[in-house]
C-alpha cells in the first residue's frame, strides 16, 4: 500500500520534471543510419535517448525526409536501391530504383524527384518517386558523392570525389552547365537558404570552398587549423548553414571537431570537440540544436547552437552515417 503511494508520487514528480525540462518547441525525433549495422536508430529528441532500432537494407548511408514528412528515404548502398520507411509504423513499405551503389541524394523542392549519386557508375540518376522509376541518368565525374539542390530547385550541385569538381546541373535541361574545380576529394555541397551560395567541403584538401551561385566562382576557401591535431587529420565532410546565414558548421572527420564558422566573414570562430570521425550534420527544426554522426565512436553528439556547447552524446548503432531530424 505505502509502496504504491510512493510509486504514484514518484510518477507525478517525474511527469512534473519532464514538463519543466521540456523546451517550449515541440521535441523532434532523430533518425540515424548505421552503415555497418544495416539499421536506423530512432532517438527521442526530448530525452535524447535511443528508443528504437529499425532493420533496413544493406549499408544504409544517405537519408532524407519526404516532403510530407511521413516517410524517410534511405540509400541502401549495397542493396542498390532506395528504401521508403513509413514513419507511422517504422516499416520499409517500398523500394525505389536508384542505379548502382546509391550513396547520397537530394530531394527536389516539389518532393517529386530524387537526385541520386551513383558512386560506382559516375552517374547522377533522377528518380520519379510516385512512379517508382528512373527518369534519366546524367554522366558526371569519377565517384559522384555530394548532392545539393538550390532552394528554388533550378540547379543541382554534384561533387565528384576523384575528379575534384563541383558540377552544376540545370535541372530543367538535365545537363551539366558548369564545372568548378575545388580541392581534393570533395564531399558535400550545401546551399545557403537564400540560394546565393553553395559551400563545398574537400576531405583530403582540408578546405571548404564557398561558391557564388550566380557567378559560379569560388569567393572564399576556408582552411582549418586545430592546435595539437595534425593537418592530415583535418578532413571536412558535413556542412550545415543556419537559415539566416550567420553561422556555418563544418564536420572535420578524424580531427573529431566541428568547426564553427562566421558565415558572413568566413572566420573560424571555434572548434567543438565531438565524437570520433565526425561525419554528417543536421539541425533540429528550429535550428536550436545540431546533431553530428560520429562514425568511429558509434554515437551522435548534440550541440546547443545558442551557447555553441556540446551538451550530450547519444549511443547509436555501428558506423553512424546520416542523420535527420523529424519535427
Amino acid at each position: 500500500m505505502s509502496n504504491g503511494v510512493t510509486a504514484a508520487w514518484r510518477g507525478v514528480a517525474a511527469l512534473a520534471c519532464l514538463y519543466f525540462a521540456t523546451p517550449i518547441a515541440a521535441a523532434d525525433t532523430i533518425y540515424v543510419s548505421n552503415e555497418k549495422d544495416n539499421t536506423i536508430t530512432v532517438v527521442d529528441g526530448a530525452s535524447l535517448m535511443p528508443v528504437k532500432t529499425i532493420p533496413v537494407g544493406q549499408r544504409p548511408r544517405g537519408i532524407l525526409l519526404s516532403k510530407d514528412e511521413k516517410s524517410l528515404y534511405i540509400c541502401a548502398s549495397d542493396s542498390d536501391h532506395i528504401e521508403v520507411l513509413d514513419l507511422a509504423d517504422d516499416k520499409v513499405v517500398r523500394t525505389l530504383p536508384s542505379g548502382a551503389d546509391p550513396e547520397y541524394f537530394a530531394l527536389d523542392p516539389t518532393g517529386k524527384l530524387l537526385y541520386v549519386a551513383n558512386e560506382d557508375d559516375n552517374l547522377v540518376t533522377i528518380v520519379d518517386i510516385d512512379r517508382g522509376a528512373v527518369v534519366t541518368e546524367i554522366p558526371v565525374g569519377v565517384e559522384p558523392e555530394g548532392m545539393g539542390i538550390s532552394p528554388d530547385g533550378k540547379y543541382l550541385v554534384n561533387t565528384s570525389e576523384t575528379t575534384n569538381m563541383a558540377h552544376v546541373i540545370d535541372t530543367a535541361k538535365r545537363e551539366v552547365v558548369a564545372n568548378i574545380l575545388v580541392d581534393s576529394r570533395p564531399r558535400r555541397a550545401v546551399w545557403t537558404a537564400d540560394g546565393a551560395q553553395f559551400w563545398v567541403s574537400a576531405e583530403i584538401g582540408g578546405t571548404v570552398s564557398v561558391v557564388d551561385a550566380d557567378k559560379r566562382e569560388i569567393v572564399k576557401r576556408i582552411a582549418f587549423a586545430v592546435p595539437g591535431v595534425p593537418t592530415e587529420a583535418i578532413q571536412p565532410v558535413g556542412i550545415a548553414i543556419t537559415r539566416d546565414r550567420k553561422l556555418a558548421f563544418v564536420a572535420l572527420g578524424p580531427a573529431n571537431r566541428v568547426a564553427v564558422v562566421d558565415a558572413q566573414s568566413y572566420e573560424v570562430l571555434r572548434y567543438l570537440l565531438v565524437g570520433q570521425r565526425v561525419w554528417s550534420l543536421a539541425f533540429n527544426p528550429d535550428q536550436s540544436r545540431l546533431y553530428t554522426t560520429n562514425g568511429v565512436s558509434n554515437d551522435i553528439s548534440v550541440i546547443d547552437v545558442g551557447s555553441l556547447k556540446v551538451i550530450k552524446s547519444v549511443p547509436v548503432g555501428q558506423s553512424p552515417w546520416g542523420v535527420v531530424s523529424h519535427p
Binding site: 569519377v142 565528384s160 576523384t162 575528379t163 574545380l181 576531405e203 583530403i204 592530415e232
Partner: protein, 397 residues
Amino acid sequence: MPRCALLMTILIIVATLVATRAYADAQTVQIGWLSQAVKRTLPLSYLDQPPEDEGVQGARLGIADNNTTGHFTGQSFELVERVTPEDGDIATAFRDLAAKGTRLVVTDLAAPDLLAVAGLSEAATATIFNTGASDDRLRGEDCRANILHLLPSWAMLADALIQYLVTKRWPALLLVVGHGEGDREFAGDIRHAAQKFQAHIVKEKPWTFVPGARRTDTGHFAIQAEVARFTQGISYDVLVVADEEDEFGDDLSYRTFDPRPVAGTQSLVPSAWARPHEQWGATQLQDRFLHQAKRWMTDRDYAAWMAVRAIGEAATRSKSTDPAAISAFLRSDRFELAAYKGARLSFRSWDGQLRQPILLADARSLVSVSPQPGFLHQFSELDTLGIDKPETKCRMG
C-alpha cells in the same frame, strides 16, 4: 538480321563521329607505359599466381579516371604501351616512345634497367614514374632528377612495420632472412628501423632449408619440424621475415616453437595497397579495378594508377597539357593527390619519393595503417616513414 547489322554499323559510325568530335579540340596528354615481361618465380602459395598484366591495368584505370575528368576540362589522356620481351631492348623501346613525343613515362622495371633508361639522352627532358622497384638506392646514392617514385621504398615499409610492433610493445624481434638481394636489403632496413624506433633484434638467422618436395604427401611434416627446430631456444616477441621472392615465408606461421606472430614480407605485410583495404572510399577503387581487370589490384597496379592520376591531377590543376608544366607542378608544393588512404600525398623534394601512409594487412584483414599515432615529425608525420631529408644520400646535382 541484316537490318540489325546495318543499325549497328550506323551506331558505330555515329559513336566514332561523336567521339572524334568530343576530342577534336581536346588537348591530349600522352603517357608512356614501359615494362618488361619478366618470368617470375612462382610463389610458394598455389593460391596467388602473379598476373601477367600487373601494373599496366592500374595505368589503364588511371587513364579512364583522368578522361572522365578531362571530359569537363577539355583535356584527354592517352596511354602508349610498350612491353618489351624478356630479352628485348628496353632502351630502344624508350627511344621509340620519346620519338613519338612522349615525355611522361610510367615504368615497371627492375632498378638496373630503370637507371639505364633514365640515363639515356632522350630521357633528359622526360619524367619517369617508377612503379616497379622499391630499392632504397634509387632514392639514395643512385637517385636521378628525372625519376619520381610511386611505390614506397623498402625503408618506408620496414619503418611502417616496426612503428606498429613498437606501438604494440612487441619490440624483441627474431629476424629471418632469405638468400636474395632484396631480402638482405629489407633486413638492413628492419635493423635500421629497429634502431630508429627502439625495437631490438634478438637474433638474426639466414634461412637455408630447401624443403624439396613440398607437394608430396606428408610434406608438411618436414616443414613443421624444421621451423620448430629453427626457432627453438630463442626468446622474442615477433618473427620478422625477409623473403621477397615468396620462397618460404608463408611456411613460418603456426609452426614456430613458441607461439609467436610472423610479420614482414609474409603474414602481416606492410604495403602500398592491400586486398582487404576498404577505408577512405577504397572500396570504389577496388570495385572499379575488379570490374576492369577481373582480378584484385596489387600494389604495383596501385602505384601505376597513382602515377597516371598524379599526371592527371597536375594537368587539371595547372590547366596545362605541356609535359614540362605537368612535371614542374608535380614537384611543387601545390600538388596533392588523394589516393584512398586518408591523407594528401605529395612528392618529397629531396629524393622524388611519394610520401604516403603504409597499410599493414594480412590476406584477409587490414590490421593497421602507419604512421602510427605518436610518431611525430616537424613537417609531416608521413615523413617518419623512410629516409628523411637530413639523412638522405641523394644528391641530384
